[in-house]
Assembly symmetry: C2
Homo-oligomer: 230 residues x 2
């Protein structure tokens, strides 16, 4: 295996979006069930990106998609009069999510041997803010925004390899989501699955413990570093 670079899904794989978003909802909209609201907000993510992917919406960054679904949800949850300042602040909750406990150390270890980059549907500004907030030591930030395509589309995975100056087989996609890995694999990338059982909270159906299609399945980024750095 001659992997030279690792590219990482971020939401759910490197950072805990649910706790972070629920925290800011609790702070800014105290009358709603914060976890349920966070889950509902996140559930709009794939459908809204799919509308962009099908061409029903022009390219919109994640702030714009989050804002559109937030406005709908606030009305549904009985808070139609939430002020503009609260809405703007909630959208920014997605910029300052905390890493999972193993993420910072795992990335530092992996960076010693590999180029490490985000490869997220979040836009560049969001990912830069998040890296500074959480201490994520990316060699560079790569984002769907750079390719005008959201993940799932091959342009993102092939574009990442091209910008890194590497053939796809020397790049490994790391994610907690089997669909993201399957799309990367279809483009020739190697893949590593991270089991993140708490991504959707302890009451949700758990994700699979491993991905038999992936080159590797691990439970943390430090475990990934132990496997790949030796």
């Amino acid at each position: 295996m001659d992997t030279r670079a690792l590219v990482f899904d971020v939401f759910g794989t490197v950072v805990d979006w649910r706790s972070g978003v629920a925290h800011d909802i609790r702070r800014l909209v105290p009358d709603v069930d914060a976890e349920a609201f966070a889950d509902a907000w996140r559930s709009q993510y794939l459908p809204s990106m799919d509308r962009v992917r099908r061409g029903e919406l022009p390219w919109m960054n994640l702030d714009e998609l989050h804002r559109a679904s937030l406005d709908v949800l606030l009305a549904e949850y009985g808070v139609p009069d939430a002020p503009e300042s609260v809405r703007a602040e909630l959208v920014l909750a997605w910029h300052r999510l905390d890493p999972w406990p193993d993420s910072v150390a795992g990335l530092e270890q992996l960076k010693e041997r590999f180029v490490i980059a985000s490869l997220s549907n979040g836009h560049v500004a969001l990912l830069v803010n998040m890296a500074k907030h959480g201490g994520l030591a990316w060699d560079t930030v790569l984002s769907a925004e750079l390719f005008g395509h959201y993940k799932g589309d091959p342009e993102v995975y092939l574009g990442a390899a091209r910008l890194l100056g590497l053939p796809p087989e020397q790049v490994m996609m790391v994610a907690a989501h089997v669909d993201d890995l399957a799309a990367a694999r279809a483009c020739g990338l190697r893949t590593a699955y991270i089991h993140r059982p708490q991504e959707y909270g302890s009451k949700a159906a758990p994700p699979p413990v491993s991905d038999p299609e992936a080159d590797l399945s691990v439970h943390s980024l430090t475990e990934l570093a132990d496997h790949l750095n030796t």
Copy 2:
């Protein structure tokens, strides 16, 4: 002043291209005057980018431009039979240039308060390799390659501000070259000039000590940090 991000020219401003390239020429093509060859190679940089900017050449990354001018120069310098492996290795000399003595510390200090990113005509892969080689702690790598335009063109400066999610006046361009700063200023960016008297060696005409049009003129990145961090 509410500068939020600093974007940096790299060749000559952050790294010493002349010493690094001459070092590899001396190693790989011992029969030529290494410094003269490095200067001649660098002198092809602006004309070859201008041919891309005028549309006479398709978009080519810096490796491709360097390779084309290298092949011409090797013939001119009496080494027309230099093997392919030497040519490929020389092109990669531009990926592993050493920082000026103040660069690593200055960037670390500036990173505490600002988003710091490259904004170079070098392509992403080159800049990532160079950052790992020299320990340049970019928050992210920004490159002309992302915009399909070389510097001088407004797309690069405005594109950098857009990707960072900031209005141009909250972004400061840092460079040792007054033309780069003038182009950034025309796009609304703030500017800082770094005096790098050794960029072209001690025998060349020295660059101006300061740029009266810039917001700041300094002699090192640590001096820039002292000015901006207080």
